[in-house]
Amino acid sequence: MSGLDFDTLVREAREKNDYDQLLGLIPYAKLIGVECLRLGDDLVFRLPASKDTIGNPILPAIHGGVIAGFMEHAAMLHLLMFMGIPHLPKIIDFSIDYLRAGHYRDTFAQCQVWRQGRRVANVAITAWQTTQAEPIATARAHFKVDGP
């Protein structure tokens, strides 16, 4: 069933420092425009400002669901990149706190794996726009990581 070799793709992406191919595989990530930047040993994800992701037309502000989807996807990729998982992790639950409006501008996200067991991983995700010290949202998620 698994037609895609994520192991190879992840290795290639890391070697070339080019994550476009990996990101391009996931239609939803392409739809909202997720990008991935490598800063030293850190991985930072970027969601470029786009009219198509706006929810609140007055501010205007990015749809909360898109911010959540971006953060969930960041966590999934983070696990793929760092935790040596050869397949896509499966979401178990996701909880997000919205701290500030996500304005019509680029959004960034970074992840922290607090615990990876054999079956389940716990990931915290922070999203910000102006400065990392003032997050627009924090989230945590559990993923199933033991095979498809």
Partner: protein, 158 residues
């Protein structure tokens, strides 16, 4: 407030949300008890290309929107209610090539906060693919930056 007014407000509210138009989300039903939205299956929202399963992010958007708009079922006037928090528990993955429905209701309304809960399902509401709770903040009528939007959404009923 009559159910037809609630339905109309829910439809106008949804039509103002650009990203929901991109996903093709539509109002399925709305009355004083709650709101149901429909997210059509599409290849552009796939999260796993091997299986064709929809990305959790699209389901989160559906449920954030459903919970957010369900506030019109409980409030006499339209109010902008930003999401404070949202939690989704996945019971099982969505089946590919099938639409997803989201239902939400407000189970407690205070002067400042609205507590909502709901679930996402495909064929059978008794077998949800996800359970959701969301908390929303009431900004109060004085803080409404969007008088124009309020007029648009309430329509002639305002």
């Amino acid at each position: 407030m009559s159910d037809s007014v609630i339905l109309e407000r829910a439809q106008r509210f949804l039509s103002a949300l650009r990203h929901c138009q991109v996903l093709g989300i539509a109002v399925e039903a709305a009355d004083s008890h709650g709101l149901t939205l429909r997210l059509p299956y599409s290849s552009s929202i796939i999260g796993n290309p091997d299986t064709g399963v929809i990305h959790g992010g699209a389901i989160t958007t559906l449920m954030d929107t459903t919970c957010g708009i369900s506030t019109v079922c409980a409030l006499p006037d339209f109010e902008i209610c930003p999401t404070l928090d949202l939690r989704i528990d996945y019971m099982h993955p969505a089946e590919p090539h099938k639409d997803v429905y989201g239902f939400a209701e407000c189970y407690r309304v205070t002067p400042n906060i609205i507590f909502t809960r709901g679930f996402a399902y495909q064929d059978d509401p008794q077998q949800p693919i996800a359970h959701v709770v969301g908390t929303f903040m009431r900004m109060g009528k004085a803080a409404q930056g969007g008088q124009g939007l309020k007029r648009d959404i309430q329509g002639g009923a305002a």
